[in-house]
């Protein structure tokens, strides 16, 4: 038997399903339901894999990815590698509503979010910091590197390609690292 409306979501994220269902019951659109349901998981940090304070990268930073799609118009709004803004799917919805683009990424996506009125805030928490420091203390295992020196299955980086890196490339890497470190 089938019946409409329907909400289905991955994992046993109950509050997300309840929130989406409530939005529909109150007359919200399907897009509103998806946005509010997924936002609920961003707020609740669902199982640590959604929202702020989870999945720190190699530098200890949490970044967020989200998308939302309207099956009537086939419009999509998406953000990726979003930094320092918590409501990723809320920003994705604004990409649909206020731009002719589909996907915004990185720090520039954060600047767009701030312009849309979203707060610019740290996504790190004691939890994500402890995940990160444990990882550092276990020789950065696991990681996503391969075919590099030092051996990425045994130690932390920085990693390089095994063949001799030319002096010029060395300089470029140093310049880049200096620029990135000065970034924040």
């Amino acid at each position: 038997a089938t019946a409409l409306p329907l909400v289905i979501n991955t994992w046993a994220f109950r509050k997300a399903a309840e929130t989406a269902w409530k939005v529909l019951q109150l007359g919200g659109s399907e897009l509103d339901a998806v946005e509010r349901g997924c936002s609920q998981c961003e707020i609740d940090q669902c199982d640590g894999s959604v929202g702020y304070g989870g999945s720190p990268d190699e530098s200890g930073e949490t970044t967020l990815d989200a998308m939302i799609m309207d099956g009537n118009t086939m419009e999509v709004g998406a953000v990726a590698d979003l930094r320092r803004v918590k409501n990723a799917i809320g920003v994705a919805r604004k990409v649909i509503e206020y731009t002719k683009h589909t996907l915004l990424v990185g720090e520039s996506a954060s600047m767009f979010a701030v312009r849309m009125g979203f707060p610019y805030e740290d996504l790190t928490t004691p939890k994500s910091l402890s995940i990160y420091s444990k990882w550092l203390n276990q020789s950065c295992q696991p990681n996503y590197w391969k075919n590099v020196v030092p051996d990425s299955s045994k130690s932390c980086g920085p990693y390089k390609r095994p063949e001799k890196v030319s002096y010029k490339e060395e300089q470029t890497i140093k310049d880049l690292q200096r620029r990135v470190q000065n970034h924040d």
Binding site: L4, V7, I8, T10, A17, V50, D57, A66, M67, M69
Partner: protein, 141 residues
């Protein structure tokens, strides 16, 4: 990662995802979630789907788009999800991943890839046939 598909009273569909990505990723790494057709897809003339799991692998197969295209051909949502998992299995038999599918009539299903430690996939469903949002479980294939 949360992936969600909503089918409205008149069968119109929206979908979405939100995630903080892979833990300990290389800075700049983006997975499947924000990529239309990979993390999620919606077409009110056919259906909606959303995926979760190892995004570095899954995104290459556009699982959500493919599942919707199967449903467009009349495939039952559960079978559409299974077929998408099978497609990825051929190239990456040990990938971690699951997909949820729903068509415009409100039929739905889910599928996942069976690997050690991941043999069942839990997902949430809300519908007028259920008194409240209900957790459902599917055995992985």
């Amino acid at each position: 990662t949360i992936g969600m598909v909503v089918v409205g009273g008149s069968g119109t569909i929206a979908s979405g995802t939100s995630t903080n990505g892979a833990v300990h990723k290389i800075p700049g790494r983006v997975g499947d979630s924000p990529i239309a057709g990979a993390g999620a897809y919606a077409d009110s003339t056919a259906g909606g789907a959303a995926a979760t799991g190892d995004g570095d692998i899954m995104m290459r197969f556009l699982p959500s788009y493919q599942a919707v295209e199967y449903m467009r051909m009349g495939t039952d949502p559960a079978v559409a999800c299974q077929r998408v998992i099978s497609r990825i299995q051929k190239y990456a038999p040990r990938f971690f991943g699951a997909v949820i599918c729903a068509n415009t009539t409100g039929s739905y299903g889910a599928a996942c890839n069976k690997i050690p430690g991941f043999t069942q996939f839990h997902f949430m469903v809300s519908s007028p046939l259920l008194s409240q949002p209900t957790e459902q479980v599917v055995d992985c294939i």
